[in-house]
Symmetry: C2
Subunit: 301 residues, 2 copies
């Protein structure tokens, strides 16, 4: 099959590799309908994360089930399915608590930018669509696999509810000021006390500081950007009265609900994709995102 390989930072290739096979009886093999490039893939591409050896890349996927292992009970060949970037059994205490990305048997699903993909723990990981999706739903369904689910988790973790004030620290800011000026601006907009809920979507020391100081006492910060060199001072957090919860989004917990919203037309997260390319042009997809010519690129095998 054709698969996207990151050979080293800045070097994306689409190559012929062996088709994936069932390894565990709980596996499924998907034919990929749509996949895409994530901001975290870009960290590899830019050499911010180490790339020790060439490896398949990609972890967001909408696919059709080609084959299942002998112990897979609920997922059937022919179904259209979506899963998260972490496989999860959906039965352990952490999954029951809604934190599937802390599943006691979690396994990273890698190599999704390809024609086929092996997904472990298929019954726990995958959610089947009721029928083959319409072409115009593909992008929004794919978005549920990570980017939409991560934003949704951030909102849940920050206790966003009707009526609360929300600030997002991330790309495409409404308030353009950063650092102390950004904090002052948010306070001016919120009775002088800060926002009820702040979503920290970057993962740097500066963005975390801005998030914490933009939140009112008693408010909530959710952080979904993997923190790099971030240390939080215990005493400052103490006196801030701000609650903090982060982590890799347990997308699986929200997947059924998000799919329902997409199929009913209530949300259209596929809008985030502003470029679609054939899988064989994956290298151009990375370049376009790296050079900010595209926000997020959808790939079709």
């Amino acid at each position: 099959m054709r698969a996207t390989i990151i050979a080293k930072p800045g070097d994306i290739r689409v190559e012929n590799v062996p088709d994936p096979e069932i390894v565990q009886p709980t596996d499924a093999i998907l034919g990929i309908v749509a996949t895409c490039v994530c901001g975290s893939d870009l960290r590899d591409y830019r050499g911010i994360n180490p790339v020790d050896e060439p490896h398949p890349i990609g972890h967001e996927y909408l696919g059709v089930v080609e084959e299942v292992g002998g112990e897979v009970a609920s997922i059937k060949p022919g179904q259209f399915v979506i899963g998260s970037f972490f496989a999860s059994d959906n039965t352990c205490p952490n999954c029951h608590a809604g934190y599937h990305t802390s599943c006691l048997h979690r396994e990273f699903v890698g190599g999704a930018q390809a024609e086929y993909l092996r997904v472990p723990l298929a019954d726990g990981t995958l959610v089947a669509l009721p029928e083959e999706p319409h072409e115009e739903q593909v992008a929004s369904l794919l978005a549920c696999s990570d980017v939409m689910g991560t934003g949704w988790y951030a909102a849940v973790a920050a206790e966003v509810n009707p009526g609360v004030t929300v600030a997002v620290v991330g790309d495409g800011a409404v308030v353009t000021e950063r650092g102390e000026e950004g904090i002052t601006r948010i306070r001016e907009l919120t009775e002088g006390v800060g926002a009820d809920s702040v979503l920290e979507c970057v993962g740097t020391a500066e963005s975390m500081r801005q998030a914490l100081r933009s939140t009112r006492p008693g408010g909530n910060v959710a952080f979904v950007g993997v923190p790099h060199d971030v240390q939080i001072d215990g005493q400052e957090l103490f006196y801030s009265h701000v609650a903090l919860r982060g982590g890799p989004a347990p997308v699986r917990a929200f997947l059924r609900e998000l799919i329902d919203h997409v199929l009913a037309g209530r949300i259209n997260p596929g809008k985030v994709f502003d470029l679609t390319l054939p899988l064989d042009e994956a290298a151009e997809a990375y370049r376009a995102m790296d050079e900010r010519r595209a926000i997020k690129v959808l790939l079709r095998p």
Copy 2:
């Protein structure tokens, strides 16, 4: 009046000082019925906190109103009242949110180990009892002023509810192991995943680490011991999926409810006092707690 002064670490004296007077029209002067020594007073006594110059000490109080300023509307002379260690207006956005210790006009109430005490923002700070308390209720009502209110806040902040598993990191542990062994023991007791709610009541780097690692993914740590030299690693917190909220307990938010529980006999937090002394023996109260001959000492002027 007689008042307890910390002259320097290890040096507690009860001296004659001028009676407090109304300074702001929102002040009240209380005659102290009962007061006590806090673990945080001990930090001054032990020289862990700097004591730059001799000053009055104590911040927990049950009193009777002697006099009020011209703008005090709801608090009346003759009422028996309890307040928190932070005065608060009970009207600002942070008080409305239930975080009175982040009141925009908060003021520390110091010098409560004395015959009389000036309390700022009396209408917002003080809660009046329906009548003069019975002698056997005094200790439990006094406890609401800080120690009971702080424990209550920790439970609320850690989302303790019927059915959840709770671990307390602090003095008097059931699990006697510390550090990694303590974490392992808590995990053994909780399906291998950790407790739902953990109350961190110490404030050291070790106790914070133990609290965070004893909590299940999706669980909550509340921290109410003022953190000293505690840095929380952003990436570790991220992957733990644990939420963290701390701060000086907004006791005022819970005071009415706690007083009702005490008066109805549902809780008896006065049990924490295992020694009662006259105010003039405050130095012995500090010695007894410092030497662990007493857990907490009640003082009667």
